[in-house]
């Protein structure tokens, strides 16, 4: 079953044609990786799934993107609800200047959850899910800025997961992290698969190979190839894909 379906998507920043005629289906509860050289449009495409690009003035989208069969750019769509259901983790950790606890509780609070016991329980679950609980359980009231970069990124994952999204978008979530933090985050992604649909942008082929079921290769705003991760990395159909994964350009 497909969770996300993109049909004939074209996207423009002003007059710049950033995404060219992309169609791709993302199956439910699987992990899909987007790879491709810098500037090819991976982030742009990812940010269409939670309508983050709406914030950038002068952009234009044609084609259709649906999640659970609903056109997310349709008139009746409530963008706040869409974003609650489609979580996002950014390239740089961006915790709020609040306590560790309040960072994770934020999504619940802004969505109207008032029950304190429920919030406390959900915060704990989310932090455990992000493998951060043991490191922070004694300092939940301290500032999130007191955490290391790797911890902050896991906090952001916990923050995103606390509202139980059915899709998690991750834009190079480990690019600013050390190998140990990276390994922890990759483990988290593997934990999520089977329960949550994960779309991850990465520059690391190894990472894509380790965590994803399917991989899409983008080049100059086009989606060149999309298929099972194993196939993409061992026997791609396109020469461009072959060149990229073997490091001949990118």
């Amino acid at each position: 079953m497909n969770k996300i379906e993109a049909k004939n998507v074209d996207f423009y920043y002003g007059s710049f044609h950033a995404l060219k005629h992309i169609s791709l289906d993302i199956p439910q509860n699987e992990v899909v990786a987007f790879i491709g050289p810098s500037g090819c449009g991976k982030s742009t495409f990812l940010r269409l799934f939670n309508r983050m690009n709406d914030l950038i003035p002068g952009t234009r989208l044609t084609g259709q993107i649906s999640i659970d069969g609903t056109d997310i750019y349709g008139r009746s769509v409530d963008v706040d609800l869409l974003r609650r259901d489609v979580g996002m983790v950014f390239q740089r950790p961006n915790p709020f200047p609040k306590s560790i606890f309040e960072n994770v509780a934020y999504g619940l609070r802004v969505n109207g959850v008032k029950d304190r016991a429920f919030i406390a329980q959900r915060v704990e679950e989310a932090l455990k899910g992000a493998a951060l609980w043991d490191e922070v359980k004694d300092k939940l009231k301290e500032s999130a800025y007191a955490l290391s970069g790797g911890q902050q990124q896991r906090l952001c994952i916990a923050r995103a997961m606390a509202v139980e999204p059915s899709v998690l978008l991750m834009d190079e979530p480990a690019s600013a992290l050390d190998p140990i933090s990276t390994a922890k985050i990759e483990e988290l992604i593997c934990d999520l698969s089977g329960r949550t649909t994960v779309v991850i942008v990465t520059h690391s082929m190894q990472q894509a190979a380790r965590v994803s079921n399917k991989t899409a290769f983008f080049y100059l705003g086009e989606m060149v190839e999309y298929g099972e991760t194993k196939k993409i990395f061992t026997n791609p159909d396109q020469e461009a894909t072959q060149n990229y994964i073997t490091g001949r350009f990118g």
């Binding site: 983050m52 974003r83 259901d85 996002m88 950014f90 709020f96 934020y106 802004v110 969505n111």
Partner: protein, 294 residues
């Protein structure tokens, strides 16, 4: 092979640099020295008259003796009043300009006008205050009219600092909040405002400090020459330090005897303004610490 450089070039270059630096140093020291001289002069002449009576009693004997308590109280209420006006209005306008107004000519125009507003002589504000608050809205000469006029004077700076404070927040905080399903208003209220607050408050206090010394805006809208009793409501007139300073220094029965009082008043005014600036710093530091550790 070596480059064709005159051997004295480097020496001349260094010499010139030293000379220019020396000039800059002398100039900046001179400016600071003059500032301290002014401050020292007033403090020297003013400190002598400061005592408990001076600070807590009303002027007596045709303002040739007694204290300045009613003027201190008046200035205090004017500050409170203008803060109550300039803070919410400035904050809301600043947030609107930075977060809601569509980027374009209109906003650019409003921004330019706001900046121009800050450059209008304060006596013009006084005139406007008289025409609008005192007469048109029939507030009369009152603390209310004076506060609103002073508040208008402080407004451009508060709007500007609010707008800048919000604009300088990295987009990643907005995106992080919106990505969790927060609305724009929730994002502003719960994430951006706490981050912008230190700068907004600092801007407010600094502009109030400036405004507290203004004479012209309260001249036609509020200030009384001499009032033996303290104001009882915001529709009363009041005395105020800057106007009192002007009065005792320029008019009255015995200017000679009044001069020490003028210096004493100036002393108190300066202390208030300096205290406001220190307060602004303390508030900013406090908020910043809270943001980091909360």
């Amino acid at each position: 092979m070596s480059l064709p450089i005159d051997s004295s070039y480097r020496r001349r270059k260094l010499w010139l640099q030293q000379a220019v630096f020396a000039l800059f140093r002398v100039l900046s020291y001179a400016v600071v020295a003059v500032l301290f001289l002014i401050l020292g002069f007033i403090l020297f002449h003013g400190a002598g008259v400061i005592d408990w009576t001076f600070l807590t009693e009303a002027p007596t004997d045709g303002m040739t003796s007694g204290g300045i308590w009613p003027a201190i109280v008046g200035t205090f209420w004017l500050m409170v009043g203008s803060a109550l006006f300039a803070f919410p209005v400035g904050l809301i306008s600043g947030i609107y300009m930075s977060e809601y107004a569509p980027d374009g000519r209109l906003v650019a125009f409003i921004r330019t006008m706001t900046n121009n507003l800050a450059g209008i002589p304060s006596i013009v504000f006084g005139l406007f205050g008289m025409a609008f608050f005192v007469n048109y809205l029939s507030f009369g000469d009152s603390i209310l009219a004076g506060s609103l006029t002073l508040g208008l004077l402080a407004l451009p700076v508060v709007i500007r600092t609010t707008e800048d404070a919000f604009r300088d927040i990295a987009p990643s905080y907005r995106e992080g909040s919106l990505a969790l399903g927060a609305t724009k208003a929730q994002t502003i209220w719960r994430v951006l405002l706490p981050m912008a607050m230190p700068r907004v408050i600092t801007g407010l206090i600094l502009s109030l400090g400036r405004v507290s010394g203004e004479t012209a805006p309260i001249l036609f809208t509020c200030a009384a020459y001499f009032l033996p009793k303290l104001p009882e409501s915001m529709f009363d007139q009041c005395m105020a330090l800057p106007y009192h300073l002007y009065v005792v220094a320029t008019s009255g029965t015995d200017i000679e005897a009044q001069m020490p009082i003028a210096y004493g008043t100036a002393f108190v005014l300066i202390v208030i303004v300096l205290a406001m600036n220190l307060l602004a710093n303390a508030v900013r530091k406090h908020f910043e610490k809270k943001l980091k550790s909360k």
